[in-house]
């Protein structure tokens, strides 16, 4: 090992545990596969409806400006369900470890000082400049980041899964309550699309934040688990509230 490499290795601090990195990248692959195959399925009927029914000749809520393509549905469905199984099993693994290890409470739940309106307002101002949030140190996520992660994990992903299952005639034979929950099969389809759009929005901001905040080091942290970033970043906590 050269001196320079030794120096770099010494400066590196632990950033992400192995299970976070593993589930993150499996999730990345599954999500992109779901996105592409979901679009392929959508192209058979790029119209959205509310309620139970909807078809080409029925009035639509929104007609998406997409080319109609009936030929892609077969592989689209196959890839969608394979990726959905990976997404669900990987998500279940993540959820269990995140809960059991305290990761959900320690890393993802905003600290008391972060929930102060002044702190949140300051964080929004930092993000608003679009120059990057100055990503907090390896020890703590910023409050908007935490809220975004929690929204994805606790709201968008479950809504995605349940609205997808509401389109299944088999699952709803066993659980017709799903129709009540989403207001019908076509409502579930529309909500499935809207929450997918929400996840794409999250992905765009997520990637932009990486690019704007030292992408090489952040990628290194998410791949090798270690990062050169100092323990306390620019938005370090002032004081331990305890």
């Amino acid at each position: 090992m050269t001196n320079a490499m030794t120096a770099r290795a010494e400066k590196a601090v632990p950033r992400h545990p192995l299970w976070v990195r593993l589930t993150h990248w499996v999730n990345t692959g599954a999500f992109l596969a779901l996105l592409v195959s979901g679009l392929a399925i959508l192209l058979a009927l790029p119209r959205l409806f509310w309620g139970e029914t909807g078809a080409n000749d029925a009035p639509a809520w929104i007609v998406l400006p997409l080319p109609v393509n009936l030929e892609q549905t077969g592989w689209g469905r196959n890839l969608h369900f394979l990726a959905a199984w990976i997404f669900v099993l990987n998500g279940a693994l993540y959820g269990l470890v995140a809960l059991a290890s305290g990761h959900l409470l320690r890393r993802l739940t905003p600290d008391r000082d972060q929930l102060h309106p002044r702190h949140i307002a300051a964080d929004i101002r930092v993000h608003w400049r679009l120059t990057g949030s100055g990503a907090a140190g390896a020890d703590r996520y910023n409050v908007l980041q935490k809220l975004a992660y929690l929204a994805v994990i606790l709201v968008l992903a479950p809504v995605m899964l349940l609205s997808g299952l509401t389109m299944s005639p088999g699952v709803t034979a066993a659980y017709p309550e799903l129709f009540t929950l989403f207001g019908g099969r076509q409502s579930a389809r529309t909500i499935h699309f809207l929450s997918a759009a929400g996840l794409v929005g999250f992905l765009l901001i997520h990637v932009w934040q990486v690019l704007a905040n030292g992408p090489l080091d952040l990628m290194r942290g998410m791949i090798t688990g270690r990062s050169a970033r100092p323990k306390s970043g620019p938005a370090a906590p002032e004081e331990d509230p305890r």
């Binding site: 549905t73 699952v171 066993a174």
Partner: protein
Amino acid sequence: MSDLTRRRLMLGSSAMGVGGLLGGCELIENGPRRPGLYGLSDTLTLATQRLLLRDQPLVREFGPEAISAVFPTINTTDPDNPDYRRSKASGFSDWRLPVSGLVERPAAFTLAALRAMPARTQVTLHSCEQGWSAIGGWTGVPLSHVLASVGLKPEARFIVIRTVDGWWDSYDLFDALHPQTILAYGMNGGALPVAHGAPVRLRVERQLGYKSLKYLASIEATDRVDGLGQGRGSMVSEMGFSWYAGI
């Protein structure tokens, strides 16, 4: 429901139980085969749905007021088949539905014979894999009744259905004997329109629309489907779709 039907339902569901889950791709003995990762995810999906549906629940049924004004018709809407055209011209009076294979008393039923059997009317949601859905009212005879009247042999495991426009599909007894699996000759209070599969179509309510074949030509009971065609269990499977279409 006859004793035979109940016994079949139990056989069907126990075969799908723990043993099936452990068997992976052997989930259904002598059932359709699909290699690769898609086959694996199909098997996971089927195993999960069989677990959720182990008590054979019925799908939701609506009142007649829920029937959709728009009910699309896709694929064949008027079979280009000389025999069919002749039969249609005679009001399907010469139409016959042969039921053969692993049955005690092979028979060919006329439309009048099916109409004379116990009827079931169900207003249900039809879900297409393309994304559209519509509510229709269907009247017909439960497939389980037709199969009981010809007497399924104990070794029968699958029902293979062929249509006048050349489609075919197969169903294991878990779905074939379900009370809402009917041979429908009526739609929304009238006769079944030609565009919707006249004179008789299948309704398999817990699967997607493509499993509900139109223009039925024959019914056959078999003990295996892995030797039919490419071994995938249906024509749509050979086109790349799932044999089991519960989602």
